[in-house]
Amino acid sequence: MNPPETVVTEHLQETMEEMYVNMGPQHPSTHGVLRLMLKLDGEEVTAVIPYIGYLHRCHEKIGENRTYIQIIPYTDRLDYLASMYNNFGYVLAVERLMGLQVPERAEYMRVILAELQRIASHLIWMGTFGLDLGNFTIFMYCFREREKILDLFESVSGQRLNYSFYRIGGMPMDFPMTFLTDCKAFLEWFKPRLPEYDAVMTDNIIFQKRVQGLGKLDQKTAIDYAISGPMLRASGIKWDLRRNDPYSIYDRFDFDIPVGSAGDVWDRYMVRRIEMAESVKIVEQGLRALPPGEIMGKVPKKIKPPVGDIYSRVESPRGELGFYIVSDGSEKPYRYKVRAPTFVNLSVLPVIGPGHLIADMVAILGSIDIVLGEVDR
């Protein structure tokens, strides 16, 4: 049925109006509950307004009401895909504030687990990113490998997702006897899997054409927005806290830092893809050099850092994970602030999003690698 003639003529005289469309909070590509207001001109996005906070639980207020040790399980829930790294960043901040020494073996254990976690985190990113773009095979591949890492973590900590495995001053228990052989077997099995991903994703011409040139982020904007992690490196800035502000024992390991050039979605993909291979190198070196000895340092029975404050940062799989802790000398932090990498990285979306099609927004958002547990805290 044709509409009345008057309406048709009116419609033709008018210019195309821009309209707002909600993407989320329950959109599959947001990997959680994130709402994006898209201003659309036809199919093209002209503005992006992110609304966050759906998972907000005032993590920082909870932290102020807990003792330093009680906070560790809460940090697991920040970036729940890289819990080991949140534990790492938090205990490191408290150790730096108190000036604690961590035994050699515990440092190696920390690095080995942290780098396995980086692989697991990048795997889940790669899988879901492929899923966003309609590549279901890579999703199955990545989850298959991640499962094996979770098995390793389960054998170490008893948990598969929220490990709470790092302690202030060291590690709570040693690796189980089977861990070294299991871990080596996993690495040997994992290394030939990387070319499989290349066959399915990297060398796939459809995928390449789909993501190259999307969501470009230049170096100046990246620094202006304090972007960190793989996103910053994709823009061509060789900046990795493991190398540039070494913590723990990262200065003893030999690994490369991949950088991109254009800062588009493709570069972010490649940086993460190569980082997985680099993390494998670090784990191998760690396993070779793992010394015997104590795993817990000399830690006072009650954790009471001296009065003062500290900003401590680590390179989590998603970027610079910072903890700003103010101590008043008591058992609980006076102020406990988390600088979540994806909170900051997501804030650049209104800059890199506009000018693309709605379907490409999914790819751009996916390439930021957000975890809403950390964005909303």
Binding site: G53, K61, D224, Y311, Y324
Partner: protein
């Protein structure tokens, strides 16, 4: 630029506005006056500290003040800077630094939302983590909410 040089350069330029300063490792730490806060931060940016790592807020309830903490660094050298600005609780207004570092946008919105510091000149100062109709600023030490269950050790 070493942390000592940073403190000296800022101190000689702004004098009285730097209330206290110390060097801790590679970090230069300064307590500065609100009146010259923006100028000092702009001066630090001019020195090459173009990366605003973090902007935190602290409730100094004992002295009746709120504090904003800026963590600055550069991607070229190791020196870091920590700047603290204190404002009275009755008049918690600080000039926004979004024009210096765009990343401050969401950080300032967060500090406004949770701590109630107003950033003068912010382009879009709305609540970010809590809902729009939320009452109060949860991270303040005197925040009261009947839904908040006090923690009692068993």
């Amino acid at each position: 630029m070493t942390p000592e040089e940073v403190i000296q350069a800022i101190g000689s330029q702004f004098g009285e506005a730097v209330k206290a300063s110390e060097v801790k490792g590679v970090e230069a730490r300064m307590d500065i006056d609100r009146g010259k806060g923006y100028e000092i931060l702009a001066g630090l940016k001019g020195m090459g500290f173009d990366y605003l790592n973090c902007l935190s807020s602290v409730d100094r309830i004992a002295s009746g003040e709120l504090e904003a903490v800026y963590n600055l660094s550069s991607l070229r050298e190791a020196t870091k800077v920590l700047v603290r600005v204190r404002v009275p609780r009755e008049d918690p207004v600080i000039r926004s630094v979004v024009s210096l570092w765009s990343t401050a946008d969401w950080h300032e919105r967060e500090a406004y939302d949770l701590m109630g510091i107003h950033f003068d000149g912010h382009p879009d100062l709305r609540r970010i983590l809590t809902s729009e109709d939320w009452v109060g600023h949860p991270l303040r030490k005197d925040y009261q909410d009947e839904r908040l269950v006090p923690y009692e050790p068993a």
